[in-house]
């Protein structure tokens, strides 16, 4: 956006504000994920409750961004690039808000998990969370810097999270088969894992839309490895 200045300074400022707010929302969501995983690792129910309470801020910012985008569409009638940016922003906004809700879901599960002794040391869950978080960060980096390369990298990373999720699923299955008392905890952990996997799906969708925004090409239903690195 920086390369081409608009004639109306006000319009320019409004577009930048949307971008800025989107980044802020992204940062808030990343923080929510980080805090939830810390709450899980350190069995910190307090922190989990804080994440749940902070979701209000995410929702508020989500509303604000949507309103700004709609107003821009109505009043400025943007075309081409700007139109793509605004429609993309509306969608990314929705995804980020959903991720925020998912962090809340994870924290609810953590609060329940903490009431029982720890089932097993968590190794893959923090890895999943870290990858998902960095996917959000990188997809937003790609948005800011208009970096298609980076966006495509994020799209490929989704695979890693998927396979980690499956691994956790198999591992927990053996736990449950061995001892039925672990079923409740295993299911909770499985849900957390599944939620993290869905978060990474959302992050991938954001990256898809960043690619669309920059190139105008719809890659949403395309296999991310196609045409790359082969």
């Amino acid at each position: 956006m920086d390369a081409k200045r608009h004639t109306s300074k006000q319009y320019e400022a409004e577009l930048l504000e949307v971008k800025e707010n989107l980044l802020y929302l992204g940062a808030l969501v990343q923080e929510a994920i980080e805090d939830s995983i810390q709450a899980l690792m350190e069995r910190d129910t307090e922190l989990a409750r804080k994440v749940i309470a902070n979701d209000v801020n995410i929702d508020k910012l989500d509303d604000e961004i949507e309103e700004k985008c709609v107003r821009l569409l109505a009043l400025r009638q943007p075309a081409a690039r700007d139109l793509r940016f605004i429609t993309t922003a509306i969608k990314i906004n929705g995804h980020l808000e959903r991720i925020g809700d998912m962090a809340v879901k994870i924290c609810e599960k953590i609060a329940l998990l903490n009431e029982e002794p720890q089932l097993k040391p968590y190794i893959d869950l923090p890895r999943m969370a870290e990858i998902a978080r960095s996917m959000i960060r990188q997809s937003l980096d790609a948005l800011v810097n208009e970096d298609v390369e980076l966006a495509n990298k994020v799209r490929r990373e989704d695979e890693i999270v998927d396979s980690l999720n499956e691994q956790i699923f198999r591992e927990l299955l053996t736990f449950m088969m061995e001892d039925h008392r672990t079923i409740h905890r295993s299911l909770l952990i499985m849900q957390i894992s599944k939620t993290l996997e869905r978060i990474s799906d959302h992050a991938k969708s954001i990256a898809d839309m960043v690619v669309f925004m920059i190139t105008g090409m719809n890659v949403r239903h395309q296999w991310p490895f196609e045409g790359q690195e082969t």
Partner: protein, 587 residues
């Protein structure tokens, strides 16, 4: 380009010379003409007077001689006006001359003059008539006449010499003018070139003052101004680079924001903190650069209240980074009152230390309380009557004893650690065979390994040099590491111990297991007292939480070091580097 100033000065001179000539032409020429004419006329009058002393007859006889002597045409006229003789017109008859103005004048005053056009000679003539008297009676007139052409000719002669003189004067004076103009113009032009260079921002070399006059003074002054100005610029630049160096040299990260809340200045410290390229910081908003929700929240709060904000911000995509940020308005910044500055202090290390200390206190109390609670609990039960139940009493006392032992171990470990740290542990360094100690440790730990069905493999080549170490301490180190390896390796796992010479100076002992591994983030903190990868992990395994800490310190006391490499889920490798014993130092 010839200087315009030069032309101006030279032209002034030229005009001056021409003006002198014009003045001469218009004022002097008539005057000279008049003077010369009068001179000729007076000479003619003089001649005429002398001639008039003669009688008419005598005159008639000597007309030719008289004319030759006076260089004039002589006409002799009688009292009635009849021409008696004429030196130029000898044979022709001439008309009566009595009416001629000069003759009339001579009749009345004795002498007369006139300038007239002579029809006879067809030129302007100068006439002088003198009355010839004899006893107061006019006998006749003698008239002298000369052509004015002759006068003009002599005037022309005179003029030629005057013009020649003027010309002779003009040439050197113009030459002088030329030199003078050039003398003034060329230093001024050089000064101009100088000032133009200054305008272009160069530093011209100082100019030599050509003379001691005003121009010379001006040159000196300009030289002085150039020097002074450059000194000022140099000082300002120096001051600026000093400030910049200080700004860049600061450990703290500093940035300032422009009116659009975009970063317009930052120092190297900041760039190091965020680890980004210059272009990725300049002109961006703080959110774009830091991506921190906490920082953005503080920034928004500052923009609302304009009150200085202190905030701790956790950053770090790859490595943890905790920054203490101070957002404030810059006062006294030229041009912009509303400028915002952010100062970042890296408090990562501080926070880690703080946390370590807090963890230590919490851990020590927790570690001590756990066995104590057990001991107290069992003793209380015994006091309440269990003492009478022989069987139970034995079990309870055994448990209490176990816990007391654990407490003892913990205190021992703490003491050991603090002794090593204070340097009070006496180390007895000798050249020892590391393979031997490894063998002993393996023998000690064999039952534990066998209990978990863990296979222990060793690869100890013959050529390992002796190491300089305290035998008992090395035993303790290896025991700790192997104990950990067995503890964190699931049943049916494998542990491999290898020793090898490394670059001649050190011997590396590696203990690799196929255990649960340690996440990368925890690796740097492993040597901390009571640091546990997971809060629940090792306490259940019965450790004091001091094992690795002791190993780390003992290795340091040996002049060696410990390295831990791990992949979660796959296993951990602990590498111990011992210094090789030097034979002479051994004796």
């Amino acid at each position: 380009m010839k200087s315009r100033l030069f032309f101006k000065i030279f032209a002034t001179y030229l005009i001056l010379v021409l003006l002198v000539m014009a003045v001469m032409e218009f004022f002097l020429t008539p005057k000279i003409r008049e003077t010369i004419t009068r001179g000729v006329m007076e000479r003619m009058i003089g001649h005429g007077r002398i001639m008039a002393l003669m009688t008419v007859d005598e005159m008639l006889r000597k007309v030719t001689e008289l004319a030759a002597g006076s260089e004039a045409r002589i006409t002799i006229i009688d009292a009635s006006g009849k021409v008696l003789a004429d030196s130029s017109w000898k044979d022709q008859k001439m008309d009566n001359h009595l009416n001629r103005s000069e003759v009339q004048e001579a009749r009345l005053k004795g002498q007369g003059t006139a300038i007239r056009y002579s029809r006879t000679l067809q030129q302007n003539m100068l006439y002088v008539a003198i009355a010839v008297r004899e006893r107061d009676h006019i006998q006749g007139y003698i008239r002298l006449s000369r052509s004015l052409e002759e006068v003009s000719l002599s005037i022309e002669h005179l003029y030629w010499s005057i013009y020649l003189t003027l010309f002779i004067i003009t040439i050197p004076s113009l030459l002088l003018a030329f030199l003078f103009a050039r003398n003034i113009a060329s230093p001024i032009r050089r000064l101009m070139e100088l000032t133009q260079k200054m305008r272009a921002g160069e530093k011209p070399p100082p100019m030599l003052a050509a003379s001691d006059d005003e121009l010379g003074r001006l040159t000196q002054d300009i030289n002085f101004i150039i020097e002074a100005q450059h000194e000022k610029i140099r000082l300002a630049t120096e001051e600026k680079s000093k400030l910049e160096a200080a700004f860049d040299g600061m450990v703290e990260g500093v940035l300032t924001l422009d009116g659009d809340n975009r970063i317009d200045q930052f120092n190297r410290g900041l760039r190091k903190m965020v680890g980004k390229r210059r272009a990725d910081i300049l002109g961006k908003t703080p959110l774009e650069v830091f991506r921190s929700a906490d920082l953005q929240a503080s920034f928004l709060r500052f923009r609302e209240t304009r009150e200085t904000v202190w905030q701790e911000v956790a950053l770090g995509d790859e490595r943890p980074l905790i920054l203490d940020v101070n957002i404030s308005a810059i006062k006294g910044y030229p041009g912009d009152e509303g400028k915002i500055m952010m100062v970042f202090h890296d408090v990562t290390r501080l926070k880690q230390l703080e946390r370590m200390r807090m963890d230590f206190v919490a851990n020590v109390t927790h570690e001590i309380r756990t066995p104590l609670t057990a001991i107290i609990g069992y003793i209380e039960t015994l006091l309440q009557g269990a003492v009478h139940d022989r069987e139970q009493m034995g079990r309870f006392l055994q448990t209490a004893h176990n816990n007391a032992q654990r407490l003892n171990r913990l205190v021992d470990d703490l003491l050991t650690l603090s002794n090593i740290e204070m340097g009070e542990t006496k180390m007895q360094f000798r050249a020892v065979t590391i393979a031997e100690i490894i063998g002993e440790v393996l023998k000690t730990m064999a039952p534990q390994a066998a209990g978990k069905k863990i296979t222990v493999e060793e690869n100890l080549p013959e050529d390992i040099p002796l190491v300089c170490a305290d035998r008992d301490r090395v035993f303790q180190i290896l025991l700790n590491i192997l104990d950990n390896a067995i503890k964190f390796t699931p049943p049916a796992g494998a542990i491999k111990i290898t020793a090898a010479k490394q670059d001649g100076e050190t011997v590396a002992v590696r203990i690799a297991d196929t255990g649960i591994g340690i996440p990368k983030n925890d690796l740097p903190r492993l040597g901390e007292r009571f640091y546990r990868v997971e809060k629940t992990r090792s306490r259940d395994s019965g450790g004091t939480g001091l094992g690795l800490s002791i190993v780390k310190h003992l290795m340091a006391a040996h002049g060696g070091r410990m390295e831990i490499d791990s992949t979660p889920g796959q296993g951990t490798t602990v590498s111990l580097y011992f210094p090789v014993a030097r034979p002479p130092a051994d004796s």
